[in-house]
Symmetry: C2
Subunit: 282 residues, 2 copies
């Protein structure tokens, strides 16, 4: 099967590696707007060729994967749907779904599109960030599958199960709500934590470097993530992100107040409650 | 050399393993108030014996390591100093230093005490959390060394360099300020993040479990930490922690406002600034 991947960054590039590794792609064609990324993707062998034009790359493929940032996704996905026949399948790999699905809901080829979110990533970006095995054992969410053709859903499900990934079906609204909790807020707090430390330690970078242990590194790791990836995600999922952020600010204020009041029994009770996250993230 | 370790939890237990591994302790004596921990430490072979009384355990040791939570530290450290001769050395391994050093500043054996903070840990606690190699390649901070005897400082420095750790000397006030930035705030935000998600997902724990990727796990990991360890740290370093927390709330509010205003250029600029943390945490 010929697969075309539009966008050869962290997710597109890692998918290319996984598809090749599991023998799922006879030929991999890339489409990449950034010439440096295109060259690098070829050097790394992520794809067999980088196509000069979108239409040609789409025409050859049985499956087209759109792996561009969420803002570009809103324009690229309808373009791709305009180009396909009813024997081809298109998926996205985007982190938000509501606006994207609304943008293609009336498209005559809507049935050939399956909305996909592989729940995996790192804080790095671009083709050099592509890593083998990124998706192995992780969850992939398929959204609003009832709007997609049965054969397309079955083919996509089989493909991701072979990586192997665990397939979960969710409504787009539910997906956007839950990812705000378990992914988007983590990135936002990590960015804010980095800003806090950079602000406070303007003249003490060497000190942070000397003292920062594993705990700091793990909470601040996501702050290395690309703004070009994350601003569009926050934009597309703005209402859910603001809702969860307000709850987070409330929880931080509550802890602050307990510390201001020197209510250490109250603080202990809150931290014990927080420990219940162990049940969820073992 | 006989070494007595008071407190056989994560740090005391891991130090026991490291000291033994590097041939630095001829005999390891433990003191542990929790009978279940004492039994477990023996089963795990962390120490050669658990002594029934503090005085006897201290009397035999060339080096006494106090590795109890920060609140207990304030009472145990002066007790230990009361028990030693001027040929013995005492260290703590506490996460805050200001109040602790103030509590022993006038003690006649102050010179025999070296204030030590090995910058390493995990989110687990108790003797079962002890891990080999926890301190390897990490930084250990020695505080206010000018108040300690030269021979004691030299011996402690040599000991930690052998683990091997990188020794850094800092004033206690500086230490407490910088650890608030690079350790304490990370724990506080992680606890708050766990509370946020637990609050928002009260009926959706299975969903969090299904969807949570590596990013969420890494930001929320520290929320599994023991309140018995962390409440005393927040208490002892309250002013610095509140100061850094207020800055963090300010940074979160700033990101929130940009999102509310849909100022995505401004948001991008902030996240690009946050990316500078890459220079510090490569």
């Amino acid at each position: 099967m010929i697969i075309t991947i539009i966008g050869l960054g962290l997710i597109g590039g890692s998918l290319a590696l996984s598809l090749r590794q599991h023998g799922l792609a006879g030929r991999l064609i890339g489409v990449e707007a950034n010439p440096a990324y295109a060259r690098r993707a070829l050097e790394l062998g992520l794809v067999d060729e980088v196509a000069p034009d979108l239409a040609g790359a789409v025409a050859q493929a049985s499956l087209v994967i759109v792996a561009v940032p969420m803002d570009a996704m809103l324009t690229v996905l309808p373009q791709v749907l305009d180009l396909i026949t009813d024997r081809q399948i298109v998926i996205d790999v985007g982190s938000t779904k509501g606006n994207l699905l609304a943008a293609v809901t009336a498209h005559p080829r809507r049935g050939r599109f399956v909305a996909v979110h592989p729940m995996a990533g790192t804080e790095y970006s671009g083709p050099d960030a592509a890593v083998r095995g990124l998706f192995e054992g992780k969850t992939v969410v398929l959204c609003d599958v009832e709007a997609s053709d049965l054969d397309a859903v079955a083919a996509v499900e089989t493909l991701f199960q072979a990586l192997p990934m665990r397939v979960l079906r969710l409504g787009a609204a539910d997906h956007d709500l839950h990812t705000a909790y378990v992914s988007h807020i983590s990135h936002l707090t990590s960015f804010a934590l980095a800003l806090t430390v950079l602000e406070k330690e303007q003249r003490g970078e060497q000190r942070i470097f000397d003292l920062a242990g594993g705990g700091f590194a793990s909470t601040v790791r996501l702050a290395k993530s690309a703004p070009a990836t994350w601003v569009p995600i926050f934009k597309q999922n703005r209402e859910n992100v603001l809702d969860v952020l307000d709850e987070h600010l409330h929880q931080l204020q509550k802890l602050r107040e307990l510390l201001v009041q020197e209510d250490y029994a109250g603080l202990t009770a809150q931290l014990e409650h927080a420990n219940e996250i162990r049940k969820i993230i073992p």
